[in-house]
Chain length 218, copies 2
């Protein structure tokens, strides 16, 4: 959790002055909180400003409009998502099987632990073509998965190599489907008689088996 700046009447070590000091970050935090409470459509400029303890006009110094704020939240979410995936992958150490499993768990953990970011990234209805920096941040996160698949494919005998891009898209779709349907931390989650992690791990093993990937020895 990012440290929030102080507010009016909430002065840990000094009163809130005329300038907020960190309003941009505070607005993003406020947006995340509002997404958690009311969904992406519950985010308004006015309420974000109120939550940050500033006047309704203040946000205009930092964001063009509400969508620009949401886009920044989504971009930041993708950055964190990329970091989470990259850390989990850890360049395939100690072996690819363990690394892939960690990455899958990281995907689900993100959807569960950061439902607000997840929602902003995938369900806020942002037009990606209008916010290329969001799309690029998403692409960078996907690149982690793609690189992992390329590493795995390169270890297979030349005649048995599936296309790494396809493989990455399959794993992404599967992870995303499970995350969206069963792992999100809000009221739209559906109940199943197993954990999302178990569901994803079983599917991954079956999928790898189908590809002829010898994960046990990779």
């Amino acid at each position: 959790m990012v440290a929030m700046s102080w507010h009016r009447g909430d002065p840990p070590g000094g009163r809130r002055g005329y300038h907020h000091g960190n309003l941009r970050e505070a607005l993003i935090e406020a947006a995340l909180k509002l997404i958690s409470e009311k969904g992406p459509s519950g985010v308004t400029f006015a309420e974000a400003a109120r939550a940050a303890g500033v006047s309704a006009a203040a946000p205009y110094r930092h964001f063009r409009d509400r969508d620009a704020l949401m886009a920044d939240v989504a971009r930041k979410g993708f950055d964190r998502f990329e970091t989470a995936l990259r850390t989990a992958w850890d360049e395939g150490r100690p072996d690819l099987r363990a690394a892939f499993e960690r990455m899958g768990r990281a995907y689900l953990a993100f959807a569960r632990d950061e439902p607000a970011y997840f929602s902003a990234m995938f369900e806020s209805g942002l037009d990606l073509s209008r916010y290329p920096e969001v799309k690029q941040a998403g692409d960078r996160a996907f690149e982690v998965l793609r690189t992992a698949c390329e590493t795995l494919v390169a270890m297979l005998p030349p005649g048995k190599r599936p296309p790494a891009l396809m493989m990455a898209l399959h794993i992404w779709s599967l992870s995303h489907g499970i995350a969206a349907l069963f792992s999100r931390g809000d009221g739209a989650r559906r109940a199943i008689p197993m954990t999302p992690e178990e569901l994803l791990e079983a599917a991954s093993l079956i999928y790898m088996q189908g590809l002829g990937v010898p994960l046990g020895q990779a």
Copy 2:
């Protein structure tokens, strides 16, 4: 497409009278159109009423509030979805492989051709626990997939039978992930160098292969 009732100044064969005659359906149609244009959060009671050519107070005769309208749209969407899946499955005729492939295509086709319903069903942020009839309609659609998996599993030798529920959840997640990321008919779709149908079919074949399901002869 459901036939809409006539509007003010739009009288094919008779003037719009004091009573609308089919306002409930017209409001649902209006909601779908608004979802297509502005996303689920763009649906307001007032604008739906305007689109249907009635006063702002009229919708209250048919729906408790905006969420009740959205819930009815989602419920109707799940009903149509169930029908589409059931028709595609066709009780496994002429063979399971063809039936499964048709069902997968039907899933993607629904997301592509009915993005408004899809959005209402999966992305409107409805609290399923508050609208049990929506959840039940969704469960009925899932049952089609589950029954299909049970049929398939029953044809395997007793020692090689995976749990049908797990299998159904895997296929659902995969289909849903592909549909949500790549097949939806709006601005949030991501571009890939193949069709969603090809992506899903390849993944399904690999998955079935991994399960040891002899789909070629099923």
